[in-house]
Amino acid sequence: MSIAATNLGWSVRRRTILDDVSVTVAPGTILGLLGPNGSGKSSLLRLLAGLRRPDRGRVTLDGQDIAGMRRRDLARRVALVQQHAATEMNVTVQDVVMLGRTPHRAPLSGCSAADLAAVDTALAQTGMTDRRDQGWQSLSGGERQRVQIARALAQNPRELFLDEPTNHLDIQHQLELLRLIARLGLTSIVALHNLNHAAMFCDRLLVLEGGRVVAEGTPDQVLTADLLADVFRVRCDFHRTSDGRRHILFR
């Protein structure tokens, strides 16, 4: 297991955000995080990325507790793409992707050949090479997400966490982005709202409700009529796609 969390508990001002959550992800696979708004998906990603310390339980990378790791070492291994990336600064695409090199650069250093190579690769992987000199402010929502993913890739992570990366994108860009994530072959944890996309792109799913894990397993195991009725308060039928995946039809 590359990343694993055991019995995580976290509360803010006595309100429980996460309660006894355990997660494991096999290397090179994608775990989808599902759950209604406010179920704790973003908080879980923050704890996994080491941005917040859990009150109980621990997060380990290859068996090592991340609480004992230097933030810089963690950032060379794990990258996070947040839900709303916004800035008022007039930065270019290349500037943003170069930010991903931060954990690899010493203070006062210029950018090395390795930095430039990593930026070039990340831009190529996300199809943004032609846009490298374009200003961030002039990009569309889908392009901004791609640039943020390129920034994360420039960190050279083995684990990639994405918090609702398809939010506010049209359907074409949602699918393109998820295909891109699948193509990268990194150990990924993706918070998603679209259940069919979760079924299409994720190897396993974890469903949160009120900060607790209510289901975990393959899409076929997890996405059942009972669970969807219990957690999401929707009734649905299922349909098999030609490639054998489960497709949800809402009633």
Binding site: L51, R70, A79, A86, T92, V96, L99, T102, L108, G110
Partner: protein, 344 residues
């Protein structure tokens, strides 16, 4: 450095070179212009004499005006401009707020209160304790703003409102201390000093200020990559390996120290920290490795020129420097505010 040249951003070396020349020229002008006009050639010869390069005959009065009065004043002005511009750039990046700077956030007001408390209530004595009082006041103002704005995370509007509240509070405290405890002469002196004045600064002030600004700039440049990483906020910076809490504290304390040292010597001078970083970013882009040194030099030029203006608008009288910088700065502030108001 093998940074790829980006469109419109290759001008860093050019900007630095031009600014350095402009600074030399501005300081020379500042030394030459005044009630006693001194030709630039005499200024150059006097410099040569003091550096031991020439032994030109110059009247002792002229030499004293050049060396003891005007050069020290011009160099202090340059350092103040550099320091305030750096503070503005740092605060704008850390708080992710285009309007942030020491004056707008009330940090200058806090430093004034601290300094006035030392002068009038006599808490300690001497230049260092004056700076220390100002430093304590600046930190208090920072703490006040941080508390009201949820550490700058409450959004740009809340940070600025907290700054306005801090400025009002500390200016009121200053006025209270002055009116209840000071005599008429002290009150007049303090009020003039509060608007900013380079009158009376000499070499000892220059030395202290030079040490603080050089160390402060070095600390800030050390954190240049970290400041870049704040582009998308605290969490993004943390996810890229920046120890956010430590960086924030180190840089807030550094800006408080720079602001406090400046305020304790020349009063609170507004808007330099606002205008200069925006202008420099527009010219060379937002990367802090270049932005901070460029802000320092451009801020220095701006302040020396502002001081020349403040001394030459009226004969026989000097305008408080804060009035000159506000006359330039407020229109810029309004423009930025107006643009920030419109939906993107």
């Amino acid at each position: 450095m093998t940074t790829r040249a980006m469109p419109g951003r290759g001008g860093f070396a050019a900007l630095l070179a031009i600014s350095a020349m402009a600074l030399t020229l501005a300081v020379a002008l500042a030394v030459s212009i005044g009630e006693m006009r001194i030709p630039l050639s005499t200024v150059a010869l006097s410099m040569g004499n003091h550096l031991g390069w020439t032994e030109a005959p110059i009247s002792r009065i002229q030499d004293s005006v050049i060396w003891d009065l005007r050069l020290s004043r011009a160099l202090v002005a340059a350092l103040c401009g550099a320091g305030l511009a750096i503070c503005g750039a740092i605060l704008q990046s850390l708080l992710r707020n285009t309007l942030a700077e020491p004056y707008v956030l009330g940090v200058s007001a806090g430093a004034s209160t601290g300094a006035v408390a030392v002068i009038i209530l006599g808490v300690g004595a001497g230049a260092v304790s004056l700076s220390a009082g100002a430093f304590a006041g600046a930190l208090a103002a920072f703490a006040f703003v941080a508390l009201l704005s949820d550490g700058g995370r409450g959004g740009p509007d809340r940070t600025i409102l907290a700054g306005v509240a801090a400025a009002q509070l500390f200016n009121a405290l200053t006025a209270y201390v002055v009116t209840t405890s000071g005599n008429a002469q002290q009150a007049r002196d303090v009020m003039f000093w509060l608007l900013g004045s380079f009158g009376g600064v000499r070499w000892p002030e220059f030395q202290l200020l030079a040490v603080v600004i050089v160390i402060g700039l070095a600390v800030c440049i050390w954190y240049a990559h970290a400041l870049d990483a704040f582009t998308f906020g605290d969490d993004a910076a943390a996810s890229m390996g920046i120890p956010v809490a430590r960086v924030r504290i180190v840089l807030f304390v550094t800006t408080a120290l720079i602001t406090a040292t400046i305020v304790s010597m020349v009063g609170s001078i507004g808007f330099v920290g606002l205008v200069v970083p925006h202008a420099v970013r527009f010219l060379i882009g937002p990367g802090h490795m270049r932005l901070l040194p460029a802000c320092a030099v451009v801020g220095a030029v701006f302040m020396v020129l502002a001081d020349i203006v403040s001394r030459s608008v009226m004969t026989q009288q000097t305008l408080p420097i804060g009035i000159v910088t506000a006359l330039v700065g407020v229109p810029c502030f309004s423009l930025i505010l107006y643009r920030a108001r419109r939906p993107a």
